[in-house]
Amino acid sequence: MSQKMTGAQAVLESLKREEVDVVFGLPGGVLLPLYDAIYQSDIRHILVRHEQGAAHMADGYARATGKVGVCIATSGPGATNLVTGIANAYMDSVPMVAITGQVNTWLIGKDAFQEADITGITLPITKHNYLLRSAKDITRVFREAFFIARTGRPGPVLIDLPRDVTVDEVEFSWPEVELPGYRPSFKAHEMQIKKAAKALMEAERPVIYVGGGVKYARAERELIELAVKINAPVTTTLMGVGCFPEDHNLSLGMLGMHGTKYANYAIQESDLILAIGARFDDRVTGKIASFAPRAKIVHIDVDPAEVSKNVRVDIPVVGDAKNALQGLLKEVKPKGRSDWNEKTEGWKKDYPLRYIPDMNIIKPQYVIEKLCEIAPDAIITTEVGQNQMWAAQFFVHKDPQKFISSGGLGTMGYGFPAAIGAKIGRPECDVIDVAGDGSFLMNSQELATAVVNEIPVKVAVLNNGCLGMVRQWQELFFDKRYSATILGRTSPDFVKLAEAYGAVGLRATKPSEVESVIRAAMAVDRPVVMDFIVSPAEKVSPMVPAGATLSEILELEWCDADQYCHLEKIYAQGRKEILGQEGF
């Protein structure tokens, strides 16, 4: 049943076979043949207004649905505009296929118009990438790309598509994937499972530490079952938020730099850490030398290279999180409540997440609490900075596909396009981007995409007039020298901005207006930007200063004199670390 078609048609047929129902992109010269094929196909194409938006939408779509997200950009600047989005997906292990146009094969390497070596550029930020040189390779490469993107530890795969390859005629075939160098692990080793189970049974103070791997393996049910069966408290990373219901009595919430005190205390005091699909990132471990000093570490991960990368692991279990958890469930025996449960629950009571409410100024945390009250089942995406941390802390998360945030790369401008992608993937859900006034402007042009395509996402701008998270660090570590972080009134009027695009704009300046603004936003079936004028001086609390041990976590609003002196000392150290530290 072989059939002759153009390369572009073969691309579309491949996407169809991979069950892709939507792609996010923006055309250009070398993509004309491909876009002509898109025009004649029934695939849904969402035209973005900046290619970075396309990459983040594909990413948000993938995180909300578990399917592979697909984005398309033209050669040269189109392709380079995808780079941040691809790096973002790579850091957070998001299944994605990025398709880029390329100049004709005979022009490659000649600095042709709009030529960029995108496979070279994306080498370190893709799971794998391809430069297609012949139309006959299209179907094989697309099939491999989707397979690689979604299996093992998921990640982005880029396919660079020269113009002539999309024009050439080809006989369609759909070859089986044959990749001798790619054998993703799946089944956990039985011996290791037994060892892990034994360690869990012997532990007196176990903590389960959960990352995004549990979400990708869809192992939440098994996780809850295990935690309950052995009465072990559970803490999650930012990527793992929602994997364990935060209203459960065994939940310790998030750990790390802006995690809860009780999660960090529990980690430091534990005698056994069961890490599942998490990678001991520096934002999670604090000072690595004094991380969980008394704990044996069991590490379940699908990526063998993560084992013992950052911390020494006593019992590695390489395999899929769901498979490993099912194995563990068979091996462990039920354990009753213990002193350890009393202790961790005591900490939960003594050191809750909190803020000082205010009658006159809107506290950003209050906005998040209200969002949670009014739209508890919404998908929350976030930008990066304080807004992100408050969204993680003050919303009660119960579903990992409903908390979507840029973890590894920390990309400002991620949340809004990710929200659009999520809404397209899960139209039945409310989707709210919790934003900062800095971050939102980085991709606010996608308001046009949302309006034109009638994608009713909601944006909650926590408008504090500053690049808040950076300002917080300047307040704490740079003697309040606010270098380049005060936006003040230089941001546009977000209500008018929304209206200019044809979206709805709403504003709350007093705490009493917050609820009505949220209710009004949720009631309309159109894109809405809510502008919450919030307290500018608020800090994210608690906080483990960079380079400090997790137990040295401080509540920034409630420091007593002793702690204050201690804090000053750590800050003096922290400053050195920050100065020597890239990125934020």
Partner: protein, 163 residues
């Protein structure tokens, strides 16, 4: 601490870049790298000498194994393997020094592969120490040019490393 690893890769364009890129991105130190086709032309074999402790070596092996085009990664224990390197050396040689150089060449079982009035080219194979030694001895005459291949290595006996 130096470790030698053999890496079997798909013989495709860009694979060397992927491997070199991985080393630089993860700050692994390559001491030497040599590459060539295997008996099966679909695959190439690289011999890479890495500098670092056990933990680093383990990361190198795991990270290399993650590359889609990498088929196999094996550590080669120096005591169980034969290791060879090849060097060609252009050295100053006039009437007076020529015979002394030829003596050195004989002792090292090296070869003279080109002679002119003022210089000659010597070819030598052996392990790293042997090559270092002859280079050292030839220095007194003045080395005009030196090219070394980097190490290739193979396990002695029955064990086989291939795709």
């Amino acid at each position: 601490m130096k470790h030698t690893i053999a890496v079997i890769v798909e013989n495709k364009s860009g694979v060397l870049t992927r491997i070199a890129g991985l080393f630089s991105r993860r700050s692994f130190n390559i001491d030497s790298l040599s590459v060539g086709a295997t008996d099966n032309p679909d695959y190439s074999r690289m011999t890479i000498t890495v500098n670092g402790d056990r933990d680093i070596l383990e990361q190198v092996i795991k990270q290399l194994s993650k590359l889609i085009n990498v088929i196999r990664v094996s550590e080669l224990d120096a005591s169980e393997s034969v290791e060879r390197e090849l060097a060609v050396i252009k050295v100053n040689a006039d009437k007076e020094s020529r015979s002394e150089i030829m003596q050195i060449v004989n002792i090292f079982r090296a070869k003279i592969i080109d002679v002119s009035h003022r210089s000659m080219i010597i070819e030598v194979t052996g392990d790293e120490e042997k090559i270092d030694a002859i280079v050292q001895l030839l220095r007194q005459f003045g080395i005009k040019e030196l090219a070394r291949t980097g190490k290739v290595s193979m396990v002695r006996g029955a064990r086989v490393i291939k795709a």
